[in-house]
């Protein structure tokens, strides 16, 4: 089955990104496909490569990048929401790309199920 994922909150402040990540990982382990993870609202902050958590904490951004690399995930950051919050190509972590909101609607159409993780 193909899942589409929407992440509406930034890393650390809310559990949304953690929950979405653990859901994606479990889905992939079960042989499902993740059509796309779309980052919206403060969720765009999950893509900042300038993120540096303390060493004893999980690195939410790197974790997404790694999952994207291992499973060829499409991690899309909403351009309008990103520009509002100072996320641009130059501070984008590996595996993420900036694109339009149409990508979210497209995921809704193409995925079998679309799940929202937010506040």
């Amino acid at each position: 089955m193909k899942f589409g994922i929407l992440v509406n909150e930034g890393p650390y402040q809310h559990q949304a990104s953690d929950s979405a990540y653990l859901f994606c990982k479990a889905a992939l382990e079960k042989g499902h496909e993740i059509h796309r993870v779309f980052f919206y609202h403060d969720g765009v902050n999950n893509s900042s490569r300038l993120t540096e958590p303390p060493q004893d904490d999980r690195n939410i951004v790197n974790r997404w990048s790694k999952l994207a690399e291992e499973h060829k995930l499409d991690l899309v950051v909403c351009v309008a929401a990103a520009l509002r919050r100072g996320i641009q190509d130059e501070n984008l972590a590996p595996g993420f790309r900036i694109s339009g909101l149409g990508q979210l609607v497209e995921t809704g159409i193409e995925a079998d199920r679309t799940l929202t993780f937010g506040d």
Binding site: M1, F3, Q15, S19, L22, F23, A26, L115, F117, D119
Partner: protein, 99 residues
């Protein structure tokens, strides 16, 4: 439908709102801070009983454990891991997060 709730019933009205509007049947999954709704002695216990009479009620085990509340889980609530969460999403025709 799979209804996903992620807020404590003492903080937000998402559980209440879901119970007010949602059609009977399907599953209600409590994740993140919503797991407190499924714990003994919580003031929202009546709401949870109502939920159990109308939906299958599940709680994400990892969130329950993280909060030290696994020993307070109300009888009749099914615990699931993230794989179980994925199964629930796949089994239901559609899903809604009550944000």
């Amino acid at each position: 439908m799979l209804h996903i709730i992620n807020k404590s019933p003492q903080e937000r009205n998402s559980l209440e709102s879901c119970l007010r509007v949602a059609q009977d049947g399907g599953t209600l999954l409590l994740i993140e801070d919503a797991v407190y709704a499924a714990t003994r002695g919580n003031a929202a216990a009546a709401k949870l009983r109502e939920a159990q009479s109308r939906f299958k009620v599940c709680v994400l085990q990892a969130d329950l454990e993280a909060r030290g509340m696994a020993d307070h889980l109300i009888d009749g609530v099914t615990t699931v891991d993230y794989g179980g969460f994925v199964d629930l999403a796949a089994q239901h025709k559609n899903c809604q997060s009550w944000l």
